[in-house]
């Protein structure tokens, strides 16, 4: 299964190795790892808490991956999103894409992240010295996701 939503940390190396091992049609492997930063516009971050909509979150990610596979020639995709309490420098999310060519792997990885940010049901609460705050969807993320509507392809 190429989608996991879990409280446990993930082993980036093992995930990428699993994607590529023994599959020599793959010429390009792109990974995005999202990490908890120690600061935000609300101040210094003590921790974040992530929740999701079980059932819908898996479905939403699956839909994004299917769309990525329709748009680009991919040989493998892996998405892991953590939930629960996380601390600065912790890994939050992994999106890895494999393709024969790097243009496809790069575009698909970025596309999946942009759509995940705006259409997968996850919520983040940030704990800073100012208190706890549920974050809003970032306007810049909405803009980034919209780029993929306009263009027919990135090749």
């Amino acid at each position: 299964m190429n989608i996991s939503i879990q409280t446990a940390d993930f082993d980036l190396a093992a995930e990428l190795a699993a994607l590529r091992t023994g599959r020599a049609q793959i010429g390009a492997l792109v990974s995005f790892t999202g990490l908890v930063r120690d600061f935000s516009e609300n101040g210094t971050i003590g921790n974040i808490y992530l929740e999701h909509y079980p059932g819908m979150s898996e479905k939403a990610l699956e839909k994004i991956i299917i769309e990525a596979n329709e748009r680009w020639q991919l040989l493998g995709v892996r998405v892991i999103h953590r939930v629960g309490e996380l601390h600065p420098n912790d890994q939050i999310v992994l999106v890895a894409t494999a393709s024969s060519h790097r243009a496809d792997a790069f575009a698909a990885c970025e596309f999946i992240m942009d759509y995940l940010k705006t259409s997968a049901p996850f919520w983040k609460r940030e704990q800073t010295e100012q208190g706890a705050k549920w974050l809003d969807t970032r306007e810049s993320d909405v803009e980034r996701a919209k780029r993929w509507d306009k263009q027919e392809d990135t090749q």
């Binding site: 929740e51 999103h81 995940l116 259409s119 049901p121 919520w123 549920w134 809003d136 969807t137």
Partner: protein, 84 residues
């Protein structure tokens, strides 16, 4: 009609409610109607469920607040999504 209601993110936390089953009176035809009904529960609900502060999904698909409701639907109400 009867629906399953789920809450996530800020409203789940502030209303201290994850899910409930609701029997909707006649005239409640859309998510927006449902929100109006829920806001009648008190000032805390008015604040949390203001239309500009919530998003929704019907049967696990993101939708507009104008989305129509049907018997047996699973309706989720939540703050703007912010994962990744």
């Amino acid at each position: 009609m009867k629906i399953k209601l789920l809450y996530f993110g800020r409203p789940r936390e502030n209303l201290r409610l994850s899910n409930e089953t609701a029997e909707l009176p006649a005239g409640v035809a859309t998510v927006a109607d449902l929100l109006a009904l829920l806001r009648a529960r008190g000032p805390e609900w008015v604040g949390e469920l203001a239309e500009n502060r919530v998003r929704c999904a019907v049967n696990q698909e993101l939708g507009a607040l104008s989305a129509p409701l049907h018997d047996g639907d699973e309706v989720a109400i939540f703050s703007p999504i912010s994962g990744g």
